[in-house]
Subunit: 307 residues, 2 copies
C-alpha cells in the first residue's frame, strides 16, 4: 500500500468534571487526509483544502507530528500529506489533534504498524505542542484510540481506554466567535477549594463508573463541572441559555468543549441529540450569532481508513 485516505475524528476534551484528563471521539465530524509514501525522505504537506494553514512541515501540526514519528522509525522513505480540513481551527473540538492524529496513524499504517497506539499518541502530542504550547493528550488520545479515553497522568504517559455506552450521542454547537486560547487559559483560577475539588473528583469517578455500567442517569448526574465552567463560560455568549435548553430538552449533560467556544451536550439516543441541536440553534438564532451544529454518535474506532 502506497497511499491511504483516512478520517480524522473531531474530539471533545475537558468533558465537564474531566478537565484536562478525559476526551471522547466523534464520528460525524472530522477531517480527511491522504497520506502517500514517496522515495524522497522527509514529510511534505502538499495540499490543504478548507482552511488557510501553513504548508511548511515544521509549522504545521500534522507535519510536526509526522516528523516525530519518522525520526523514531528510521524509515528511509518519505511521506506526502494532503489535508481536507473540515474542523475549523479554534473551534474547541480538537482541530489540531485531528490533523496530528491522522498524520501519524496514516504513516504508521503505510509503514506496516511499527508503533502501538500509545506510541502514536506521544508523536501526535508534538503537534499539540506546536498548536498550543502544551503537549496535552486529551484530544489526540481519543482521536487515535476512539471512544472515551482517560489520560490518567503524564509521568509517564498513562492512557486508559474507557467503554462507550452505545446509545450516547453528542450534540456540538460551534458559535463562530474567536476566543484566544491564551485568554481562556489566563482567566482560569490557579487554585480551587478542597470542597470544590472533592465534588469534581466525586463526579469524575461517577462518570467513569457510569460509562462502565451503561448507566445513563449516573452519567448525567456526574456531568458537572464546578471548577472551570463557571469561569470560562463567561466568554461564550448564550452559554447558560444553551445549557438550560439542552437539559430541558433531555440532554444528560452539557458543558464547554475543550477550551471553547464550542458547547457540547451528551444525550441518550440520536433522536434526543437531534432535538437538543434544534434547541441550541434556537438560542443562537435569537442572539444573532453565526454557528455550526453537529450531531454525532461516539466514534469507537479512532482514525480510520476511508480508502
Amino acid at each position: 500500500m502506497e497511499e491511504i485516505k483516512v478520517f480524522c475524528p473531531a474530539t471533545i476534551a475537558n468533558l465537564s468534571c474531566g478537565f484536562d484528563v478525559l476526551g471522547v471521539a466523534l464520528d460525524a465530524v472530522g477531517d480527511e487526509m491522504i497520506v502517500r509514501k514517496t522515495d524522497k525522505k522527509g514529510i511534505r504537506i502538499t495540499k490543504i483544502l478548507g482552511q488557510e494553514l501553513p504548508l511548511e512541515t515544521d509549522k504545521n501540526v500534522a507535519g510536526v507530528a509526522a516528523l516525530a514519528l519518522l525520526e523514531k522509525s528510521g524509515a528511509t522513505s518519505g511521506f506526502e500529506i494532503e489535508i481536507h480540513k473540515k474542523i475549523k481551527p479554534g473551534s474547541g473540538i480538537g482541530s489540531s489533534a485531528a490533523s496530528s492524529a491522522g498524520a501519524v496513524w496514516g504513516i504508521n499504517t503505510l509503514l506496516g504498524n511499527p508503533f502501538s497506539p500509545p506510541e502514536l499518541v506521544e508523536f501526535a502530542m508534538q503537534g499539540e505542542k506546536l498548536a498550543s504550547g502544551v503537549a496535552h493528550a486529551d484530544n489526540v488520545a481519543p482521536a487515535l484510540l476512539g471512544g472515551f479515553v482517560l489520560v490518567r497522568g503524564y509521568e509517564p504517559l498513562d492512557i486508559v481506554p474507557l467503554p462507550s455506552p452505545e446509545e450516547l450521542h453528542a450534540t456540538v454547537i460551534h458559535p463562530q466567535i474567536e476566543i484566544k486560547t491564551s485568554d481562556s487559559r489566563k482567566i482560569l483560577k490557579t487554585k480551587l477549594s478542597l470542597q470544590v475539588g472533592i465534588r469534581q473528583w466525586g463526579n469524575l469517578a461517577g462518570l467513569v463508573a457510569g460509562l462502565f455500567k451503561n448507566d445513563y442517569e449516573l452519567i448525567g448526574r456526574s456531568l458537572e463541572d464546578h471548577v472551570v465552567e463557571p469561569i470560562r463560560s463567561i466568554l461564550i455568549p448564550g452559554f447558560d441559555a444553551i445549557k438550560s435548553q439542552s437539559l430541558q430538552t433531555g440532554a444528560l449533560g452539557c458543558g464547554i468543549s475543550g477550551s471553547g467556544p464550542s458547547i457540547f451536550a451528551l444525550s441518550r439516543g440520536e433522536a434526543t441529540a437531534t432535538q437538543v441541536a434544534k434547541a441550541m440553534k434556537k438560542v443562537y438564532e435569537t442572539l444573532d450569532v453565526a454557528f455550526d451544529v453537529h450531531v454525532s454518535p461516539v466514534n469507537t474506532q479512532g482514525v480510520k481508513t476511508l480508502r
Copy 2:
C-alpha cells in the same frame, strides 16, 4: 426472627486519591452485634464489650443511627443492642461506622427489610454525625453495601457500588497513638492548586477504571494522593518508612486509612498482603510503637448475619 447476631465490617475510607468519596469494606476485621426485638418501644444499648463507650442511646452512635431508622419506620416494637467492639475507636478504620451500620442493618432485618440499602446509609450517617460532627457516608456506605463504594455527592446522596477485583487484599496497621480528629481536620489545607487537583481526579478516574477492568497495575499506579497524604502523614510516626517498605514488598499502593493513624496497603493476593504486614511490623518494632496489624480480603457483602 426476634434476635440476630451480625458482623459489622471495618472500612477504609479516604482511599488515597479518593479522599472523602471512596471507601472499601474489610472482611477480617469488624465488630459483632446482637440486635433483639422487644415489646418496649425505643432503643436500648444493653451491653458493650471490648471498649468503654456510652450506653445512653442518644450518646452512642449505634443508638442514634437506630433511633433515626426507628422513627422513620413507625414500628411499634423496640430493640435492644449488645455490641462486642473489636475495632478500636479512633483507629481510622471506621469504628463508629461499623456500629452505626450494624445497628440499622440488624433492625431492618428484624423488621422484614422495609428500607433499601441507600436508606440505611442515610440512617447510619446520623451515627457518623454524632461521632465526628459530620454526617459523612464514605465509611457507612461500604460497611452496609460491601466492596468499594463511591459517594459521588450528597445533594442528594448518590451511592455508587463499584466492583472489587477478587484478588485484592488489604493490610492495615494501627499504630496505637491518638490523633484527635479535630487536629487531623485542622491541618488540612482548604485550597489546592489546579495542577494538583487534575492529578488527583486523573488518579481517581484511573482507580475506578482499574476496579472495573480488574487491572491491578492500573489500580496500583492510581493509588496516589497528592492532596491530603503529604500533610496528614506528618502526624503518623514512621509513615514514610511503612509506605516505602510496603511498596518494596509488592503492595500496589499504600496510604492513610480514614483520617489516620491507621495505614493501609492494597496488594494482589493474600500472600503479598501477609508479606506487607510483616514489613510494616518490622518498621514499628524498630520505632517502639505499639500496633495492631490486620490482613483482610475485601468484604463484598457488607454487614452480615452470624446467627
